[in-house]
């Protein structure tokens, strides 16, 4: 966390707080208030939607819940305004959590579906409020509500409340952005399944982000209720709020904590200059035109453009002072007690039994080869033991704990890590950030700073020392494979599952990789090694199990297993001669 940025935000707030006391004309005061208002809404929207990629069109509902929460308490029931502000936040949070608790459980409600679902919720809430005593039809007047005297007069008090909230929103957005929590949210944006398997509690993180976003939107609504002073459903729940915040964030850059604030200022000013006075219609047309042009030419927003320029200017990675991991001495492997016991494991996909009653043990310190023809269930085995799929039957006991039925992040935190056969890096994170993710959320559970520090070591180990600041798209296949490996290692797993890490590599690259796997084991990591390259399997493994059609057909020492008749039949078919 950069203290200078925190100081800058607070200092900017203090500077603006002086304005009402030195006689700023009321017009500028209300214009600046509107700027603050949109900054709060756009920044709070971005905490869920920009960071995780779950684009919500329901921000109007949370904002509206805040408005009506405060208006009902202060306007209708006559509560003091300050007491009704927390109610506004709580109502919005309760609405958000109720929605999130249901929606985030449905795995396929992502992308456009999530956007439309939240839009639909807005209409439902609006209809309910319109037809019940909360609104009662004509709307609520807030004229008589007493607000705390934070400035020389009523208008400047509202200005001050907006300013304070805007400062708080920016601070919150920044602190989340640089935290471990924020790293998890951005990982959800890139690949939610991988993030979960890597140890990010995705469901909980999405709910937290939504709650923070709703709380800020609710507070913004509460303050806005005294600004507009007369509240009607059609104004509050119009399409303006959700669309504006989306536009502002995209325009400013939704992958940056400050982007939405930039967009909010830009669009509020544009709208003001173009739509006031006689040219209102023309102004709206220009506004629409700007939007089209911006999305077409700068899909990553203003700050997105900046970070692109920065990346282009950045010099090739400077050498870091962390010493290269010393090559471990080749020592005889010490095989210990079983670390993983899988009993009667089954998994079906619509009747196809991908795993059928598989029972096996993996002992501490060994390299277990898992082989079988294509479609035999090897990858399914890894997917189940890493928690990505839930098993239908059987048990997975890891270091004495039963894991089956748990969420995937629990597996990672218990000390299991895996690679993907087709590399699945987080595409918007650099090599170093990708590796650090595993350090933060895997068994090691490091802080963000410590994980970034360690990531250098793993990048060097995997031969990616000079590509640390590259994005995964700029790597070749070989480098992406080693990024997968480095990322799995950075979790400091007890059990590492390698899913065809060698496929697609050249013979000399394979030799290097074999050596690397030996060194990993020498540091005490147990390995399940899924591979088609038989040379590597024979060179590395202590024991081999063979799967065919989801059934375990052979188990034992490499040489014995490879000559077993069942195995030959599985690979080559039955001899009829």
């Amino acid at each position: 966390m950069d203290r200078r940025i925190l100081t800058a935000i607070v200092a900017g707030g203090i500077a603006l707080a002086v304005l009402p006391w030195i006689g700023l004309p009321a017009f500028y005061e209300s214009f600046l208030y509107l700027l603050f208002h949109w900054i709060i809404l756009a920044v709070s929207w971005n905490i869920l939607s920009g960071y995780t990629g779950y684009f919500s069109f329901g921000h109007g509902a949370f904002f509206g819940a805040g408005i009506y929460g405060a208006a009902y308490m202060a306007g209708t029931l006559g509560w003091p305004f300050l007491a009704s502000l927390p109610v506004a936040a709580l109502v919005a949070v309760a609405l958000g959590l109720a929605l999130g608790a249901v929606v985030f459980r449905v795995a396929s409600v992502r992308g456009e579906l999530f956007a439309l679902l939240t839009l639909a919720i807005t209409f439902v809430i609006a209809t309910i409020i319109l037809n019940t005593r909360i609104d009662g039809g004509p709307g609520i007047y807030m004229m008589g509500v007493d607000i705390p005297k934070l400035g020389p007069n009523q208008a400047s008090s509202i200005y001050m409340m907006g300013l304070i909230l805007a400062v708080i929103s920016l601070l919150v957005a920044y602190m989340i952005y640089v935290s471990r929590f924020g790293a998890g949210l951005f990982a959800i944006h890139d690949d939610e399944d991988v993030a979960e398997v890597m140890g990010v509690p995705t469901y909980r993180f999405k709910l937290y982000a939504l709650a923070v976003s709703c709380a800020l939107a609710g507070l913004a609504g509460g303050v806005h209720s005294v600004f507009v002073s007369y509240i009607t459903v059609s104004e509050v729940f119009s399409i303006t709020v959700p669309l504006s915040v989306v536009l502002m964030s995209i325009l400013g850059g939704s992958r940056h904590w400050f982007g939405p604030a930039v967009g909010a200022v830009a669009i509020t000013c544009l709208l003001y200059f173009f739509t006031s006075g006689d040219g209102a219609v023309l102004g709206r047309a220009i506004f629409g035109g700007i939007l089209v042009v911006v999305i077409l030419f700068m899909p990553n927003g203003i700050l997105g453009l900046f970070s692109l320029l920065k990346r282009m200017k950045r010099k090739p990675a400077t050498e870091h002072v962390v010493p290269h991991a010393a090559p471990a001495p080749e020592k005889a492997a010490k095989i210990g007690a079983p670390i993983l016991r899988v009993r009667g494991l089954s998994k079906s996909f619509k009747g196809l039994k991908a795993l059928n009653d598989v029972t096996l043990e993996v002992r501490e310190g060994e390299i277990l080869g898992l082989i079988g023809p294509n479609g035999s269930g090897k990858s399914t085995f890894i997917n189940v033991v890493s928690g990505h799929y839930r098993n239908d039957g059987g048990s997975i006991e890891f270091m004495g704990r039963e894991l089956s039925g748990q969420e995937a992040h629990f597996f990672a935190q218990a000390g299991i890590a895996r690679t993907y056969q087709i590399p699945r890096p987080f595409v918007n994170k650099t090599v170093l950030e990708n590796i650090a993710m595993a350090g933060m959320f895997g068994a090691a559970a490091l802080s963000r700073e410590a994980a970034m520090h360690e990531a250098h070591e793993f990048a060097d180990f995997a031969g990616l020392g000079d590509r640390k600041d590259a994005l995964p798209d700029d790597l070749n296949l070989h480098q992406r494979k080693f990024l997968e490996l480095a990322r799995a290692l950075a979790a400091r797993p007890k059990l590492l599952m390698l899913d065809e890490v060698l496929s697609g590599l050249t013979p000399s690259e394979i030799n290097g990789a074999i050596d690397m796997v030996r060194r990993i084991r020498a540091q005490g990591t147990t390995i399940i090694f899924v591979e088609h390259v038989m040379r590597a399997v024979m060179a590395l493994t202590d024991r081999i199990v063979v799967l065919n059609h989801g059934v375990l057909i052979a188990e034992g020492l490499p040489a014995e297993v490879m000559s077993a008749p069942e195995v030959k039949t599985a690979y080559l078919g039955k001899a009829h001669a």
Partner: protein, 285 residues
């Protein structure tokens, strides 16, 4: 809650069916471009209204018959659709950004309409307005019936074309996996242009029917977005018949809700249906 008379209920259900036909007709092009082109074309609503206003202009000022507009406007709008698709394809836009770009377009269309025809309410007066007949005490207005029949006819025609012609099969293949389809010799670019043109032409047809039945005002554009989206998603993206069926279900349930409770409760019906569907059958969309 008082029970309405049977006659009133029947009349409401009938008007619900007609309204549902309108939802289906607007949703037809929207769902096709979403499902097959992966574009959420918000401007579809802008085109519907633009076509409605042009039809208003042609009938009220130039003395044409709305049926003539039905021959003139769709080909013009087909051209607009082709141009829009050409531009979007050139920038290789994601589905989500297509939503934002077409929102910008819609705002521009809305401003254009407001500039030419002002924000006042416009009701087209034609001799069709008065045409209706009565069956067993229930009135059936001809323009609404015509719209419904047109919606059913177009939906079935497109469904059949998608299912039985080579062109339709090529389009479905393209929607499934564009690069693979291209490898099998399907001209993806040409097909997308054609499809987008078709969808916008359908918007023009819907707009003409809309102008005959409803009162026009530019701010109304956005009030139709929610419910038509609900119909499209309930019916299934890329389906020709789905939006119509879903639209009629929504229209009828709204009509019943209006009669049993109050008209202002109507929106909750369509959106509750949509939310239920998303949560319990999310694979559908």
């Amino acid at each position: 809650m008082t029970l309405p008379s049977l006659n009133l209920l029947a009349q409401s259900i009938l008007s619900g069916i007609f309204l549902g036909g309108m939802y289906g007709l607007i949703g037809l092009g929207l769902g096709l471009s979403w499902g097959l082109l992966r574009q959420i074309n918000l401007a579809h609503f802008g085109y519907v209204f633009l076509s409605g206003y042009l039809c208003y202009q042609m009938t009220q000022y130039w003395g044409m018959d709305p049926l003539l507009a039905l021959l003139i406007l769709p080909p013009i709008f087909f051209g607009i659709g082709v141009v829009q698709q050409w531009a979007l394809a050139r920038f290789r836009i994601t589905p989500f950004n297509s939503l934002l770009v077409t929102f910008g377009l819609t705002v521009m269309i809305e401003s254009l309409i407001q500039w030419i025809w002002t924000a006042d309410f416009r009701k087209m007066q034609t001799h069709y307005n008065e045409l209706k007949f009565s069956v067993g005490g229930i009135f059936v207005p001809i323009p609404e019936l015509f719209t419904l029949l047109l919606a059913v006819g177009l939906a079935f025609a497109i469904w059949a074309a998608m299912r039985f012609t080579d062109l339709g099969k090529a389009m479905r293949a393209m929607a499934e996996d564009a690069p693979i389809a291209a490898a099998f010799g399907i001209n993806e670019r040409g097909l997308s242009l054609l499809l987008s043109g078709l969808c916008v032409a359908l918007a023009a047809v819907a707009g003409i029917c809309f102008a005959v039945i409803f009162t026009l005002t530019p701010t109304q554009i956005f009030s139709w977005v929610g419910v038509v989206f609900a119909a499209v998603m309930l019916g299934g993206l890329g389906s020709a018949l789905g939006p119509l069926v879903a639209g009629i279900i929504i229209g009828v349930s709204e009509a019943i809700a209006m009669v049993l409770f109050a008209p202002s409760w109507a929106p909750i019906v369509s959106f509750s249906l949509l939310i239920m569907m998303l949560l319990f059958r999310p694979g559908r969309a």
